[in-house]
Point group: C2
Chain length 415, copies 2
DNA sequence: GAGCTTTATCTGCAAGGATGATAAAGTTCG
DNA sequence: CGAACTTTATCATCCTTGCAGATAAAGCTC
């Protein structure tokens, strides 16, 4: 059925050149605004005339506007360019096990409004009430605003093409047509993504400037469960259409605790918030509400709390060591409440990873806590925004077209 | 030091359009030769005139030639096009722990000559004697041939930029400037790659035609050690410059056997050929030379051998289950001698993976043995050939240029 | 204020693919 | 046999892209 002959190849044309360069410009301007045409020319290597042409096209399309003139550096002063933040707005939704957050972001990816509500009730009813709140917010504050898209991040297995949540053990949801529901309610295109993936995306867009060149990043999101998001070559790794569960169910110990997936010793059963709190309760006999509370206790000198966090850090380190060696990312980011205890867990995680690495000296692995407070929410913004730009998809088409294939001769020469 | 301002952006121009389309054509012709201009037009969606222009350019550059006219399908008969196999030759070298193989391949990626020699002696001396044999072969059979590149696949950690083998525990080599040595001896550009990565590449290029659309593939190479190669989006995942060790040192059991890396229960200590043979010896008290021999024994009804293979299959399945869930590749390929026992190990591996997967029904995961006998050798061919085509690199440049970045506001709104 | 630098624009050019007409070489069928 | 139709490949023309070099605008320096 999947015949080679039926595959449509996507070729490249002048329009692609224009679109790609235009998008590069847009991102460049957004990244370094304010910026002058001359600076763009220097950064891109394009001729000044070409730069003007492209910039003026962007201005004509109202994606960019010309601000005041900047200070002269010994010659004609530059005219500063800015991304027109009002040219596109998106809605970001982060559905968590306890609470869900929705937010409005402008074209610059900046959060304008952010509100939370408890996650409760039947999935569909909850989503509709969430949409209702969003519609209220829009009516009250953004009546004249045109939204381009909605980005949703959810803990669980996502069918990206359909925009449905296939299953989420932690939410207790199954087969929820998230996109269908929200598109019906809101009337904007909805893009659904796994929370850890969104979080990884957030680091890519909002992460520290020193990491501008980073192309490969692993995000470890520690919440009720434990998820991982993987950025490879500056792109979210999504694997096959359905199925990217992340490394939460990587088994680290065949004799470990039983996991909801039926196996033993999954990473999630050892290092998630639930595992951490359970472990604390097992040791002390007292229940505690959240990992944030546990961190407070540890910082106040509670030895049991401290040891519990240290144990979690060790398990995190174990799993990260496996992945660090296997994927060799440039950066590993840990997010979730536990990242608030970085002074405690950071060194332990690093130590674990270093002890496993064969060549710690030559490998430049950066391990750090997340740079935003709720990465899965911040990630939902680029999830929505990226769909305002087509070229990413076009790149994919190009790459697909170039994968070669060699027919093997009937007999293979033995050795 | 890594300032954003210093990053040179790579823009797109007319030349890129031409190069990319030309390369797409070349691959298309190679994949489906013989093919007519009209068929190319249908496959690409380009106009007949455009197709002619590009094809004639390729013919002028001697990369393609026009063969005899094909059979008419009711009108003017097509002129068949073929890739000029003689337009480029490459040398492939696969350095193994026991033996090493070198081969000559034409531009179609077809093996023309293949020879083996034992891997022994000091690394540098061995590489020079290997180069000497290759030079002899060239002198005898390919005196008039122009080679474009040399691809080398080695088990171990590679510094791709330098072309050096950083370390190979299994070979017992360390800090060997493979590229420098071979380029000095042979005079052609040398590209060095990890053996499992090369093997993954081999599946991408030589794999079954049904998998033409496959973009994500995991190769598990079981030799003395155990390595993994990962293809993501049709591209080899190489991670940071130095460091991709693969998942061989993923720990599956904190109480497992001690590994050379200092940890316990690494996948390699459980499922590699060495582990398998050690396990057989531990059970039976008798030593055996190779896994191939072990498979023969099992097929002859030796219960101990059969059980040994089954145990290895279970461990392979364990590791693969971890990775399948975390990376969600479309295809997982297992290579090495043990793949010869696919009837025995295949079902067991599948079972292990299925039992771990939360949703086996909806996930379309293809697990199969390697489609070539020595995948690391076959992989060395595309390693060399791919450098004859620039666009892959250019795509990378494009993507890098488009990665956006948002400056965070000073204060992040709490929730 | 002359000369220089920096910034932005303008005008013509080369090269890519798109388009539609045309030629070439068969098949089909009355 | 030959007119009509198909399939395949080419040609001349057009639009768009980025490129190049000249030119204009606006400030600094001495």
């Amino acid at each position: 059925m999947k015949r080679a002959d039926n595959r449509k190849l996507h070729m490249v044309g002048l329009r692609d050149v224009r679109d790609i360069n235009q998008t590069v410009f847009l991102h460049l301007i957004r990244e370094r605004q304010p910026i002058s045409r001359a600076e763009i020319a220097k950064a891109t290597g394009l001729r000044a005339g070409t730069v003007s042409a492209i910039v003026n096209r962007l201005i004509r399309e109202k994606l960019v506007y010309e601000g005041v003139a900047g200070p002269s550096s010994g010659g004609r002063p530059p005219k500063y360019l800015y991304v027109n933040a009002e040219s596109a707005y998106v809605i970001a939704i982060d559905i968590g096990v306890r609470d869900s957050v929705y937010a409005v972001s402008d074209f610059n990816g900046r959060l304008l409004t952010q509100r939370a509500m408890l996650t409760k009730g039947e999935p569909e009813a909850f989503l509709r009430s969430l949409a209702g709140e969003i519609k209220d917010l829009i009516g009250a504050q953004y009546a004249r605003t045109r939204f381009k898209a909605v980005g949703v991040s959810i803990p669980g297995l996502i069918d990206r093409d359909e925009g449905t949540l296939v299953i989420s053990p932690n939410l207790g949801w199954k087969d929820i047509p998230v996109r269908a529901i929200l598109e019906e309610e809101l009337g904007y295109p909805v893009y659904v993504e796994n929370d850890a993936n969104a979080a990884a995306f957030a680091e890519l867009w909002y992460g520290p400037l020193e990491e501008v060149g980073v192309r490969t990043l692993l995000f470890v999101l520690v919440v009720e469960g434990l998820g991982t998001g993987l950025i490879i070559n500056g792109e979210l790794h999504v694997g096959s259409r359905v199925g990217l569960g992340g490394f939460g169910h990587m088994s680290l110990d065949p004799n470990g605790p039983l996991c909801s997936c039926g196996r033993r010793g999954c990473w999630e059963t050892l290092a998630s918030n639930r595992a951490t709190l359970t472990r604390y309760r097992a040791v002390t006999g007292t229940s505690i509400g959240s990992v944030t509370d546990l961190i407070s206790l540890a910082q106040q000198g509670d030895q049991a709390a401290l040891e519990t966090l240290r144990a979690t850090a060790a398990y995190l380190g174990e799993g990260i060591a496996n992945l660090a060696h296997g994927l060799s990312p440039e950066t590993i980011v840990i997010g979730g409440e536990i990242a608030g205890a970085w002074q405690i867990i950071g060194p332990l995680i690093r130590e674990k990873v270093q002890s496993r690495y064969i060549l710690p000296s030559r490998i430049n692995l950066n391990i750090r806590p997340a740079s935003v407070q709720r990465p899965s929410l911040f990630g939902a913004i680029p999830i929505a925004l990226q769909h305002c730009f087509h070229p990413a998809q076009r790149f994919d088409a190009l790459k697909r077209a170039v994968t070669p294939r060699i027919k093997l001769p009937a007999k293979v020469a033995g050795r």
